[in-house]
């Protein structure tokens, strides 16, 4: 006996072995169909008794095993069922002959046999035969089961007769010696009459009878027989049979204790119908023996009245612990015989199954360990595989998963051992898959994504390599790619650099034939291999959704604000809400993306591989919105640090978009990596709203782009910067081309400007524009261009230095209240000469040529298309950088009274700070040419201004405005008035540039006062002619000349009364004034005039007369009497024109 039955279990001892075999040509399918039906009849209750017969069917059984049938009767083939096809009567004899041949093989042991013939019809069928059954075909054979039952009953009859025959054998007859095949030669020539020999014969026969009893369903009897046999055999040291008797005892006890069976699934089936399950459970409990009820005794009639069997049972049956001891003993006896290896092996297996049920794993492992070392003859490869598989199964049974996996893997390797001609890669692969749980390896990468790696990496890696290799040899490249991807993904931390290279290299080789996909691969065994996304190639550390660039960012119209606030809660703040918000997982990011615009997501990635990693086709995975992902390819250097990667895409519809992950192609494997499954990833939310499409505006200007970037203030980000260089006072047109480069029509445009705060004081409007002309071209269709013009006018302070102004104020020049009679002779005070008028020293030049900058931001708010209806707009900012070079400076300003009290001269020292020749002109005067760096004085005659008549500046209306501000505004208004009156312009002919110059900044209070009309307006009339300026009043000698002094009071209060004295004098034009004119000029009446008090806006006049006695040029100086009243008023209010009278010879 050489072929072990690894499936054996203790219960098999009570079964009858029936071999079912095909004869002739029977298709496998048909055979197994019938075989299955036959197998369903596995237990039979024999009529008239409570005994149950168990049948074990085999379709293949080695005849040499049959030879051990005397040793253990369940090894004996007692029945043969033959299945055959026979279609014609003439084949029948031949078929029948074959059946007989088949019978011969097991002939010595057969109790009975049957032949099932399919297909035959005709007269032969009519003959009633007990051993042959005819069926027309494989479908039409309902009576098969019935025939089998009959067959088994006939087997039972033979069995029962044999049992009775042997059991009643009394010692009077000579008992034959039963022996196993290899023993036969040992007993040749032995004394058969010795006591020892007889005992041996007895013991063996007892054991045999025990076997038969057990098979016949008489458990108690068998126990008794086994016990007796053990006693007998022990005394004669017949170890092999002693072992068999002990094993029989164990088997019977196991059957008794574990009616559920020890052989796994088949055991459970074996017991159905014969006992109640509840009872079965009851019997499991150790120590419950006293109340045990014999399964055979439990019938409809109640408990078997024969109590003697009950008593015997409790005594004879082994306790669960004893079973193991006896098994151990039996095995130790078996092990003495080399030829009984199979028996020993099977006994071990049976014991292990019992121990597994008893949950005594450690002892079971010892039995198994022993079984491993049992050396059978040279095993075939197939047998080796079977042996390793069964060892693996048994280890699994006792909970030794690792050991089980180890043997399964050995079995798998055996399938493809080099000695095998046709390696069974498929079987190898299947077995390898079964080892996965033992190595705590699942093929789902999700199990590895969280936490630390589980299991023993070294052995896991080995297994994966083997899986890869087996699947490749199986001719399933998709599978090997999947396994290799899995290996790379999950074992990355354990691979050495060289291994990483090798794995990557072979993966690329495989994928060149069969690219890795994201489809789960279903295996025939029902297992599915989930896809393996390469989340570690590269490793993504940080995902950030980027806002659109500032110029493309959508803004919500203000009017629609508040709707999202109101929906949430009536409370401005509530701790509950705040708490909830914190828990929100997918918090929405508070910016929007725009449909149709390219949106970006930034990933921080790094390459853990020791070589350059090429990542192709890297794109975004999104949901919620139709999204066109624009994949990128990147190449990461070996073991790179964090490396930013920007993935882009275009949302095609609106709604809420969620970035779920990204997809890559690495080494030819497509991966979809979901962010949720990535460990240790930092993300600041992945959900963002996509709003409807908006137009896109591109602006280009007539000015060159600037390298300067303005400091971004309050969130404004400037997309374009332009710069221009201008001379102070110059203006320029900035033409802006507005192009709609989006897909939506541009419907709305608003322009605002913001001048960035500078220290420079700016006069006038820096930027001005007319939007109407541009808006006339709207709506602007995609691709169309509109133009928009902006005037830039720079007017900074034309005074050069603050300290210069200071100088002017304490200059005091021309401040004297009384005009001099000959202003042209007015001597400029010497200190003016002291000033560096001509080319200033170098350090001064630096000050003058100081370039100032002005910066402004133009904001274009635009909208259109569906986004406009949703209330969104975009904001495009244009930064404007103006470098202001100084053009002219007014280094000094002063006034000189003109001859008329209504006018005065403004003296300006103009300094040309450019490097070009420059002309300065005013509205009234000729152009003044200034060379570079030259300073000249120009005098401008100006009418005095009546500032009071100006409409009050808008600042006046605000009562809250502080007086200082008010004053400031008033000054500005005055400056503007003066500026417009003067109209000073400069021109650089060589550059063909021109601009304005303004004195606004340098008019101080003092100068202003001089330029202001006094509130008291004095008019002097000579002979009814107003006498002012240079005009000379002519009169005749001897005629009295009427002199009238009029006062108009424009001040808000009443003035006066005043006393005036007219003092005549003659100017000798050499600095000498002759006041001694008593005999040349005589007054008619008094030389002193009196004016009454004048009410506000009132008028008053006084009259007098003069008589010139000689001809000549006379001047009249009207002088106020020094009195207290006039002291209160500023002296400039009492500025009377001087009168020049020319007395002529009286005409005849």
């Amino acid at each position: 006996m050489s072929v072990p039955d690894y499936m054996q279990c203790a219960e098999d001892h009570q079964t009858l072995l029936v071999v079912v075999q095909p004869v002739g040509i029977v298709s496998e399918e048909n055979f197994f169909r019938i075989y299955k039906r036959i197998c369903s009849v596995s237990q039979i209750s024999v009529r008239d008794s409570q005994r149950v017969l168990y049948i074990r069917y085999r379709h293949h059984y080695p005849p040499e095993n049959n030879e051990w049938g005397d040793f253990q009767t369940h090894r004996k083939v007692v029945g043969l069922i033959t299945i055959t096809d026979c279609f014609s009567a003439k084949d029948w004899p031949q078929t029948f002959e074959k059946f007989h041949v088949q019978k011969e093989i097991y002939g010595s042991t057969l109790y009975d046999s049957r032949l099932f013939v399919f297909g035959l019809q005709g007269e032969i069928v009519e003959q009633p035969r007990t051993d042959v059954a005819f069926y027309p075909n494989y479908e039409d054979c309902q009576t098969v089961e019935k025939r089998i039952e009959d067959f088994i009953e006939s087997l039972f009859i033979v069995l029962e007769s044999k049992r009775l025959d042997r059991a009643t054998d009394k010692s009077g007859d000579k008992i034959p010696l039963l022996c196993v095949p290899f023993e036969k030669k040992d007993f040749v020539g032995l004394d058969t009459d010795s006591r020892h020999y007889k005992k041996r014969c007895q013991g063996r026969m007892r054991k045999h009878v025990g076997d038969l009893c057990l098979q016949a369903g008489m458990l108690q009897d068998s126990l008794v027989h086994y016990h007796m046999s053990v006693e007998l055999l022990r005394s004669v040291n017949d170890f092999l049979w002693l072992g068999a008797a002990l094993e029989g005892l164990c088997s019977a006890s196991v059957i008794y204790h574990y009616p559920g069976g020890t052989g796994g699934k088949s055991g459970a089936r074996r017991f159905q119908g014969s006992t109640l399950p509840a009872e079965a459970a009851n019997r499991h409990r150790p120590g419950a023996q006293e109340v045990l009820i014999d399964p055979g005794a439990l019938t409809t009639n109640g408990i078997n009245p024969d109590t003697s069997t009950e008593i015997g049972r409790a005594k004879n049956c082994l306790s669960p612990e004893d079973i193991i001891d006896k098994y151990k003993e039996a095995i130790s006896y078996y092990s003495k015989y080399k030829n009984a290896g199979v028996i020993e092996l099977e006994a071990c297996i049976k014991a292990v199954r019992v121990l597994a049920i008893q949950k005594r794993s450690m002892e079971a492992s010892e039995f198994l360990q022993n079984a491993v070392y049992i050396n059978l003859r040279q095993l075939s490869e197939e047998e080796k595989i079977q042996r390793y598989s069964i060892l693996s199964e048994l280890y699994e049974l006792i909970g030794f998963h690792r050991k089980s996996a180890f043997f399964k893997r050995v079995a798998a390797m055996q399938c493809v051992a080099p000695s095998i001609a046709e390696p069974g890669w498929r079987a190898c692969y299947k077995l390898l898959l079964e080892t996965l749980p033992g190595y705590s390896l699942s093929l789902d990468p999700k199990d590895f994504s969280r936490g630390t790696h589980r299991g023993w990496a070294a052995v896991q890696m080995r297994l994966l390599h083997e899986l890869v290799y087996a699947s490749r040899r199986m001719g399933n490249p998709a599978l090997s790619v999947r396994h290799l991807s899995f290996l790379l993904q999950t074992m990355l931390d354990f691979l050495s650099d060289q291994e990483k290279k090798d794995v990557a290299q072979s993966l690329e080789n495989y994928t060149s034939k069969c690219p890795g996909t994201m489809e789960p691969i279903a295996l025939p065994g029902g297992l599915t291999l989930p896809p393996v996304p390469f989340t570690k190639l590269p490793i993504v550390r940080h995902v950030k959704l980027l806002n659109l660039p500032a110029s493309l960012r959508p803004h919500k119209m203000k009017s629609l604000l508040g709707q999202n606030v109101s929906t949430k809660s009536p409370f401005i703040y509530s701790p509950i809400i705040a708490h909830n918000r914190g828990e929100e997982r997918n918090k929405k990011i508070d910016f929007q993306w725009v449909q149709g615009d390219v949106c970006e997501v930034q990933l921080m990635v790094y390459n853990p591989m020791p070589f350059e990693l090429r990542v192709e086709n890297m794109g975004l995975l999104t949901s919620g919105v139709e999204f066109e992902s624009l994949p990128a390819a990147l190449s990461l250097p070996a073991e790179s640090g964090l490396y930013p990667v920007t993935l882009v895409g275009v949302p095609q519809t609106t709604g809420t978009i969620t970035v779920n992950g990204y997809h890559t192609t690495v080494f030819g494997v497509f991966s979809d990596c979901l962010l949720d499954n990535l460990p240790g990833i930092k993300t600041s939310g992945s959900t963002v709203e996509v709003i409807p499409a908006l137009p896109r505006l591109q602006i280009s200007t007539s000015l060159p782009r600037s390298a300067h970037s303005l400091q971004p203030s309050s969130g404004d980000e400037i997309s374009t910067n332009v710069s221009v260089q201008l001379y102070n006072g110059e203006s320029q047109q900035l033409i802006i081309k507005l192009e709609n480069i989006g897909m939506e029509p541009l419907e709305k445009l608003e322009v605002t400007s913001k001048v960035l705060t500078t220290k420079e004081k700016l006069y006038g409007d820096f930027l001005s524009w007319k939007l109407e002309e541009t808006l006339a071209q709207f709506p602007l269709q995609p691709g169309k261009v509109a133009t928009f013009t902006i005037n830039i006018k720079v007017k900074l302070d034309f005074s050069c230095q603050e300290n210069l102004l200071q100088d002017l104020s304490d200059d005091g020049i021309s401040v004297s209240g009384f005009p001099l009679s000959s202003p042209f002779r007015q001597v400029v005070r010497p200190r003016v000469e002291g000033k560096p008028v001509n080319p200033p020293e170098s350090n001064k030049a630096g000050d003058y040529s100081h370039v100032k900058t002005l910066e402004a931001v133009l904001n274009f708010k635009y909208s259109g298309g569906p986004g406009h209806t949703e209330g969104y707009y975009r904001n495009l900012s244009l930064g404007l950088h103006v470098e202001v070079e100084p053009s002219v400076f007014f280094t000094r300003v002063s006034t000189l009274p003109a001859t008329s009290t209504r006018q005065c001269h403004l003296l300006l020292d103009v300094f040309n700070s450019t490097e070009h020749e420059l002309t300065v002109s005013t509205r009234s005067s000729e152009a003044l040419i200034l060379h570079a760096g030259e300073c000249q004085r120009m005098a401008i005659q100006v009418d005095k201004f009546n500032f009071e008549s100006f409409p009050e500046s808008p600042g006046e209306k605000g009562q809250f405005a502080n007086p200082k501000q008010l004053e400031e505004e008033r000054r500005e208004a005055r400056g503007l008035e003066i500026h417009s009156k003067l109209g000073i312009c400069w021109r650089i002919p060589s550059l063909k540039r021109s601009g304005e110059a303004s004195v606004e900044g340098l008019l101080n209070q003092l100068v202003l006062e001089h330029l202001q009309l006094a509130p008291l307006q004095w008019d002097v009339l000579v002979d009814g002619q107003p006498c002012d300026r240079e005009a000379v009043a002519a009169c005749q000698v001897g005629d009295p000349v009427r002199l009238e002094v009029r006062l108009t009071n424009r001040s808000p209060r009443s003035v006066g009364p005043f006393a005036l004295t007219v003092v005549p004098f003659q100017d000798h034009q050499n600095g000498v004034h002759n006041y001694d004119l008593h005999d040349t000029v005589s007054f008619v009446g008094s030389s002193t005039f009196y004016l009454d008090a004048v009410q506000p806006s009132g008028q008053s006049a006084c009259l007098g007369a003069l008589l010139f006695l000689y001809t000549g040029d006379f001047f009249l100086h009207i002088r106020f009497h020094e009195d207290s009243t006039s002291k209160e008023l500023p002296p400039s209010w009492f500025c009377l024109p001087s009168v020049h009278v020319c007395a002529l010879e009286a005409q005849a």
Binding site: S361, M362, S365, Q369, Y373, Y395, G399, F400, H401, R402, K403, F406, Y439, S440, T452, H453, R454, G455, W456, A457, A458, V459, R462
Partner: protein, 140 residues
Amino acid sequence: MAVCIAVIAKENYPLYIRSTPTENELKFHYMVHTSLDVVDEKISAMGKALVDQRELYLGLLYPTEDYKVYGYVTNSKVKFVMVVDSSNTALRDNEIRSMFRKLHNSYTDVMCNPFYNPGDRIQSSRAFDNMVTSMMIQVC
């Protein structure tokens, strides 16, 4: 005397494994890995009874043709497994026990290193390495 020494974490993955360089390393990996079945079984068998006072030394886990595998488990369920050549009959149970104690002490020292993260592989401890080496080459 030992041919392989392994330290295995509570979660049954190797923290440290070293075997004689002359032999196939993977063989020992398999050997130690399968021995964990026995370790688990032994722990669960004695688990409930007197956790504090239980013997840390598990004794012989299983013999193979050429080797004997011994086990030791700390109170924190860290396992030490030692594979010894079975031809070396001079080695007594007591000596194995004392070797395990030494190993345990050395492991405790490794754990005391503030720069060592529990659960990481023991890679950079020279003292531990030396101790293991001494146990492997020492010939009785």
